[in-house]
């Protein structure tokens, strides 16, 4: 098998992992090649619109597990390949030197045992760090069930470590991944949280959930995320719309991955982390799924219209970020500017703050953007929905998902 064929097999198997971020680490160059950029850098964008920042590959797609949703499950008849540590190191260096990538994302199927797999991964990454003096970004997957001393060793070599929780509930996991065990994943998270420092996974940990393979609601998913953020200080939870690669009686037979739903989850995830929203603000037991027509913040604002319109020149930071179309950056700009002058609609434009959505929910120096009689739920809802379907949806929605960021 040629190196190119191997790369095709092992990149193809790794592509379903959503994480490609290269941000959060400030690793410096120590007498070798490469460094990390705190804000992360996208080097290319694949035809699905996702950012390519890392050489995302599996060490091998051989696996002793038989997870029903996974293309590499033991019982599937697919071409298998294994990279040697030297092969991975040399491709990484050759790509890095030419500025194709920020670094390496290394995951793996499980061969022989979790410990054996981890040892092989450590050998590969050690080679890169120690022999090639590579100081670029490395994200590695920790293998659930591997011994703590190996996780310790790997954590000291990489910028980010992650273990995928895969499904939001234990039931889902038992149904689709009988060999996996949620507590083994959370054991890794707990360990990484305890050890995290400037030299141990400086860019923190993340995880991923598959969306739409089992029947959990958005409320189940968001509650799980919230719990993961609270308990393990994860940097990110990634959501991956389920793509039917296998047929199984326990799997739904869907043709199109639920991309819109995935998008809503990312938007809500942002609201939890940076906008002070709580899961119960966004969803409730009687209404456990997001509105597909409206983003979660607009949906919330329309349900709480009596709190609006908010006066831009007076609203507190927390009130400002609750306005659809205004995020932390804009809110901070508004607060620091209004100490010096009274903000009018055209000042917001000058600050680079988009009024498309915000205008329905704000007053500037007592004025509404249109006749105040327009301030009605039906009018605003209609316009926001129109807006979302009309505009370059991909731009605004995908931005937060795959572009570099926290």
């Amino acid at each position: 098998m040629t190196l190119k064929e191997k790369l095709e097999i092992l990149a193809d198997s790794a592509k379903y992992d959503a994480s490609c971020s290269s941000s959060g680490s400030a690793r410096k160059n120590k007498n070798g090649i490469g460094n990390a950029s705190v804000s992360g850098i996208c080097h290319s964008f694949s035809s699905d619109g996702r950012c390519i920042s890392l050489l995302k590959i599996l060490m091998t797609n051989c696996c002793i597990f038989d997870c029903k949703y996974c293309v590499n499950r033991r019982s599937n008849q697919v071409k298998r390949a294994i990279f040697t540590p030297e092969e991975i190191a040399s491709i990484t260096i050759n790509f890095y030197k030419r500025n194709y990538i920020e670094g390496l994302f290394l995951s793996s199927g499980i061969i022989k045992s979790p410990d054996y797999t981890m040892e092989k991964m450590i050998e590969t990454i050690s080679l890169l760090r120690k022999k090639y003096h590579f100081n670029g970004y490395i994200h590695a997957k920790a293998i659930p069930g591997a011994s703590e001393y190996l996780i310790q060793k790997l954590g000291l070599l990489v910028d980010r470590l992650s273990a995928n929780i895969e499904l939001p509930t234990e039931n889902g996991l038992t149904l689709l991944a009988p060999d996996k065990n949620a507590s083994k994943v959370t054991d890794i998270m707990r360990f990484v949280k305890k050890k995290k420092s400037k030299i141990f996974t400086p860019a923190g940990q993340s995880t991923q959930m598959i969306i739409g393979a089992t029947n959990e609601t958005d409320l189940d998913i968001m509650s799980k995320s919230n719990n993961l953020y609270q308990n393990y200080q994860l940097k990110r939870v990634f959501y991956s719309a389920y793509i039917a690669v296998n047929k199984d009686k326990n799997l739904p037979s869907i043709k199109m991955p639920p991309l819109k739903r995935e998008n809503r989850l990312y938007q809500a995830d942002w609201l939890l982390r940076y906008y002070n929203f709580k899961v119960e603000d966004l969803l409730e037991k009687e209404n456990p799924n997001f509105n597909i027509l409206l983003d979660p913040k607009a949906d919330w604002a329309l349900r709480h219209l009596k709190e609006f319109p908010k006066e831009i020149n007076q609203a507190s930071y927390y009130d400002l970020v609750k306005i659809p179309g205004i995020g932390p950056t804009s809110a901070k700009k508004i607060i620091s500017s209004r100490r010096f002058f009274t903000i009018h609609f055209n000042d917001l434009k000058k600050m680079g703050i988009s009024l498309k959505r915000a205008k329905y929910f704000i007053l500037c120096d007592g004025k509404y953007f249109a006749n105040i009689s327009c301030f009605q739920q039906s009018f605003i809802t209609k316009n926001l929905i129109l807006e979302e379907t009309e505009t370059k949806e991909e731009r605004t929605t995908q931005q937060s998902l795959f572009y570099e960021g926290k």
Binding site: N35, K97, N99, Y100, K333
Partner: protein, 248 residues
Amino acid sequence: MKESNFIYLYNGTWDELLKVIFWLLKEKRKPLQILEEIKYENNLLAKPFKPILDQKVLILKKYIPKEILKISYYVFLSSSQEKELIIYYFLLNSLKYHKEVIYMRNLRCVNKALMISKRVSREAHKWKGFLRFKEMQNQFLYAEFNADNNILEILANHFKKRLPKENWVIKDEKRDILCIYDQKKLYFLEGKDIQLDLNYNNKEKNTEELWKSFFKTIAIKERENRKCQQNFMPKKYWQNILEMESEQ
């Protein structure tokens, strides 16, 4: 002719521009325009003026916060026609408001300076990702790019930290300027001053093929979204991005 009808000239360097601006501020003069000498064309309504400058005017620099100087420098690197005047008024206001000047978006010069410097740093950030080096026969890496703003120096400093043990050359095609790095120092040259031997290393094709096949494989076909791809990676970059060359 009144002083307010003077066009002040400088030699095109950042240092000299700062000197002219500080001199104007010290003399309390308001320029009609500040212009690079070579761009000056005879003008009946305005009079060219080259102030006699000495190093001392740079003393004013210490009253200007570092981040304000950085923003001004980025404006200087931009292709904006009126950048010198924007910097003049931006610095004038920063003497008055210090660091807080960046919040005074209602002032035209502040708003412009912030917008333009952001545009420059965004473009530099894009190219930090999109630049593609090729390995040449005599063991150096070579990359070309086409940018609206003059970001060669920003890129060179970025790659100096990142690839300190390689020899490389980066060329700004539009301005025909190059930066050469020899594992020690950066040298900035004009295209006419140097003849490079641009023959690819024999192994180069293999590595490029490997990358192109990775690029194709990593996309999920069920999620195809060319519009989104193009939003993040607009067509104007494609001619310099190896994996997009065939897409054009």
